[in-house]
């Protein structure tokens, strides 16, 4: 498969069809990969794809990386789950479809460290939904590897209020506000993050308990109805805060209340920008 990848990257670059190719290359540690952004056909020789390619490369399509909005599209290797991020970026007008050349990868699941990545266990899309070129044989679609992707979320739901508070306070207490979660997230593309606003300052910037709680509440809510579940926030957090649980909880509620799944349709209206007359209001007096 890596051969096919190099070939296609080489062809795109040497024929001048794309301005760059974003893909995976061997990392400096065994079992780790790194991102490679190739601008010349020669660099394409380094591209690989294997079970360690857990990263979601869609983040490089956000404007701040400066790889899009060139006279030619940027090519990017994307797993089926990563394509959801591209869908969301197009839906949110951060990316035009013609500015990206999607090289779709069929995927049987990838590893995070030595174990299968959490997102893969609940995954049911193994072939790219849409693409400009595809690498690899079509693989058989199969049911998620685990029976309930929301098992962890439900575990927390089943705690008492106090237990939940204690759980999260312990987690948030670890936060050093490095914002790696934000940097890794393809949908945290705001030109100025709310946490950096000072007039007024909605979120205290110090890593004290109030600032941390507000940051994590606001981060989770800002991704509600948008997060496609790539899990990069979890991977990025070196304090091991299970951030994606908050996102999954939001996704679960949005789906249960409004029947919406993010990253599926570039034309869909995000669920918190619209409403239905008959929306649930059981909580309203």
């Amino acid at each position: 498969m890596s051969n096919d990848i190099r070939q296609i990257a080489h062809a795109l670059l040497s024929e001048g069809k794309v301005s760059s190719v974003i893909g995976y290359a061997e990392g400096s540690l065994k079992g780790r990969v790194q991102t490679l952004i190739a601008h010349t056909a020669r660099e394409a020789e380094k591209f690989i794809f294997n079970e360690n390619c857990v990263n979601n490369l869609a983040v490089y399509l956000t404007k701040s990386y400066g790889l899009i909005n060139k006279d030619k599209p940027a090519a990017v290797f994307l797993k089926p789950c990563d394509i959801k991020s591209v869908t969301a970026l197009i839906q949110e007008h951060q990316l035009r479809r013609e500015d990206v050349f999607i090289i779709g990868l069929s995927c049987q699941g990838v590893k995070n460290g030595n174990v299968m990545a959490g997102k893969c266990m609940g995954c049911s899309i193994h072939n790219p939904q849409y693409y400009d070129a595809i690498v690899g044989e079509t693989v058989e679609e199969k049911e998620p590897g685990i029976s309930d992707p929301f098992a962890k979320v439900k575990e927390i739901e089943n705690m008492t209020t106090q237990e939940r508070w204690d759980f999260w306070m312990e987690q948030f207490d670890k936060c050093i506000r490095c914002y790696a979660c934000r940097q890794a997230c393809p949908l945290c593309y705001c030109e100025e993050c709310i946490v950096d606003k000072t007039q007024p300052r909605w979120i205290e910037s110090s890593s004290h308990p109030i600032g941390n709680l507000s940051w994590h509440l606001i981060r989770a809510f800002h991704l509600a109805g948008r997060c496609t579940g790539c899990g990069e926030c979890d991977r990025a957090c070196h304090q091991n805060i299970p951030l994606s649980l908050l996102n999954m909880k939001m996704g679960k509620e949005i789906f249960e209340l409004y029947g919406y799944r993010p990253g599926m349709d570039t034309e869909a209206k995000p669920p918190l920008t619209e409403f239905k007359m008959e929306d649930s209001e059981e909580f309203i007096r």
Partner: protein, 166 residues
């Protein structure tokens, strides 16, 4: 549960329905609990969830959001947007161990002075039962041990005032 505890409640209301309904409660001389501090906004559509977080950060024990009944919104749709926003936000609070009943939501029309009274009384009662939001207060204290001397809005000493006037 502290029977003598007087909860601090922040209310964010729309001007067209609930604020006017609260005015009507006044004109009708209905009596209700004095725990709620009302902040008038044009529409529930304007009520961002970060207002609620900010209210808790400032020591609120509970928050009430109130606006026009469905189909009554002066702006047609603001209340529908708010309904979705707070349906989801309350789930987030609940998930992080904050009792969602600390964030109350009601529809009170301009004609429902009596409902406003009932809502304020019921919400005050409910927050009183939940007790002071000690968990959040502790976070505030841990985060800002010196906050009390730092607030911009508090009353200043008369001496200082005299100097200001000079």
């Amino acid at each position: 549960m502290n029977e003598n505890f007087e909860p601090k409640i922040a209310a964010f209301v729309c001007t067209w329905c609930t604020y006017t309904g609260a005015d009507l409660a006044g004109t009708s001389r209905l009596k209700y609990e004095p725990n709620v501090r009302v902040l008038r906004l044009p529409c529930t559509g304007r009520i961002d969830f970060s207002l609620v977080i900010k209210a808790f950060e400032n020591g609120a024990d509970g928050v009430l959001i109130s606006g026009c009944h469905p189909n009554d919104c002066h702006y047609n749709a603001g209340n529908f947007h708010a309904r979705r926003r707070f349906a989801i936000f309350r789930k987030l609070l609940e998930f992080t161990g904050i009792d969602p009943n600390r964030v109350q939501f009601s529809w009170v029309s301009a004609a429902e002075g009596a409902k406003w009274r009932d809502v304020v009384n019921a919400v005050t009662d409910e927050i009183r039962k939940l007790g002071p939001f000690n968990e959040y207060q502790k976070l505030i204290h841990d985060s800002f041990p010196f906050r009390h001397e730092d607030s911009g809005a508090e009353e200043i000493s008369e001496k200082e005032q005299v100097e200001n006037v000079k």
